[in-house]
């Protein structure tokens, strides 16, 4: 497989990197400390097409194939030092835009996609509950028939973008006995729906500019028109989103790894110890060489998996392999960057400690490394 960029993909990458560097990276230390999420920056990203990368152009999207989406997000992660913004926007695309584009009725696509793509609306999906993180289908949230619609009750937690959400895809049991096998339904809800409430922003170690909160559903009424992917289709709607997320959101982490490697090289060339640049000491140069090995392997894996999103439905194995490898590679690269920077790396001023804090969540969100290894083993017949 040849993943050399086409001239269009190369231009897209250049454009995104230049935009991110010029428009998104100011005052990051303060924004991180204050947990500042910016709708203005979100809108600017949407202006470049980032909020609707794979959505069809007739609904306001950029209409990009999955591989080009991955290339775009790789560039976004490389250029943008605000990893929280990168995470929030990628989550919006993978968890809300992708499933609506794939499973939405014409009416749902017309209603939601243009606003989600142009940056007017922020989208989320709400699956995780306090007692069901790694086992999402043991959820307790339920939707019960009520006339021509449904009454939804439950509480979701750790919902990315929830404090800012305009559109929420919530997963609830419509047949508690069936659960994964036809018992879960996805509903599309609008901000302001009676009984729907996002909680306070949850403070985090990293990705602090990415909003996160609980969402409660207190007798929320939804019509049959709000059902996404058919009654009982929620499990496969969720699985489809997760395949995209575990590949394309993690493409942004590939870009982050490249930036950290370049920062490490620049520092190792100028910082001296024992009369020569630290990069001339094998202890440091081998760390950087390992960064390069991880980067190349991660990029190849991510692009191959992204290319398979277009041709096969059975990409869960590829997605799990990609997710584990890229997230663990990112954490190691961030740790090594801090180590190479030494005492300076431990300070806030040099901004690599923030990259490490941001990286640590990657082995947890979108399914922990442990869960991904379970999935991989299961696909291998174990």
């Amino acid at each position: 497989m040849d993943f050399s960029h086409t001239p269009e993909q190369a231009r897209l990458r250049q454009e995104i990197v230049a935009f991110a560097r010029a428009s998104l990276n100011a005052n990051m230390i303060e924004r991180d400390r204050g947990q500042v999420f910016s709708r203005e920056l979100w809108k600017a990203c949407a202006g470049l097409g980032l909020a609707g990368l794979p959505a069809p152009p007739e609904f306001g999207g950029a209409g990009l194939d999955p591989l080009t989406c991955a290339i775009a997000l790789d560039a976004f992660g490389y250029g943008c030092a605000d990893h929280g913004l990168v995470f929030s926007l990628s989550a919006h695309v993978m968890s809300c835009v992708v499933p609506i584009a794939k499973f939405g009725s014409d009416a749902q696509k017309h209603k939601y996609l243009p606003g989600l793509c142009d940056g007017t609306w922020i989208g989320v999906h709400a699956m995780t509950e306090a007692g069901s993180g790694s086992d999402p289908f043991s959820m307790r949230s339920q939707a019960v028939r009520d006339g021509a619609g449904w009454r939804i009750n439950g509480t979701k937690t750790f919902i990315s973008n929830a404090p800012e959400a305009d559109v929420i895809i919530v997963f609830a049991l419509t047949d508690p006995e069936a659960r994964f096998h036809g018992g879960v339904t996805a509903f599309l809800l609008d901000r302001g729906t009676r009984g729907l409430k996002a909680g306070r922003n949850i403070e985090k170690m990293g990705l602090r500019t990415a909003p996160l909160s609980e969402v409660t559903f207190d007798d929320v009424w939804a019509s049959d028109e709000a059902v996404l992917g058919g009654l009982g289709g929620g499990a496969f709607v969720f699985a489809h989103s997760m395949d995209w997320e575990r590949i394309c959101l993690f493409a942004a982490h590939v870009g982050q790894m490249e930036r950290l490697m370049e920062q490490s090289i620049a520092y190792a060339r100028t910082r001296e110890a024992a009369g020569k640049p630290i990069g001339k000491h094998q202890a440091i140069s081998h760390k950087v060489a390992d960064m390069k090995i991880r980067l190349e392997a991660a990029r190849l894996l991510t692009y191959r998996s992204a290319s398979r999103l277009e041709v096969s439905r059975g990409v869960s194995l590829d997605a799990a392999v990609t997710k584990v490898f890229v997230s663990e590679a990112l954490v190691q690269t961030a740790l090594d960057t801090v180590q190479i920077f030494g005492g300076y790396g431990y300070t806030t001023e040099y901004e690599v400690e923030r990259a490490l804090r941001d990286a640590l969540g990657a082995t947890i969100y979108s399914g922990t490394s442990e869960v991904q290894r379970n999935i991989i083993a299961n696909w291998l017949g174990l």
Partner: protein
């Protein structure tokens, strides 16, 4: 058991029941209720059915009514191929 059902049976035996006597997997063996098809196994099976038989099983069709036995799975495949 027709050709479609036989192929599905072979796939399930090979993928999820490697040490089981093929005669123990009957047309009516409950695959979901019996714990053979968990979530990942179901995704693998649906992927196999889509690719092998050139169909696209919809999200809302992934349920016990369609997937709980060899008989019901084969019926789903036949319906999808003729629709």
């Amino acid at each position: 058991m027709d050709e479609i059902e036989s192929e599905i049976k072979s796939y399930i035996l090979e993928s999820f029941l490697p040490n089981v006597n093929p005669e123990e997997l009957t047309a009516a063996t409950p695959l979901i209720a019996g714990g053979i098809l968990d979530s990942v196994a179901t995704i693998r099976l649906v992927t196999f059915l889509d690719e092998r038989f050139g169909i696209e099983i919809q999200a809302h069709e992934v349920n016990a009514e369609n997937l709980d036995s060899l008989t019901s799975i084969a019926a789903l495949v036949r319906r999808k191929r003729t629709s």
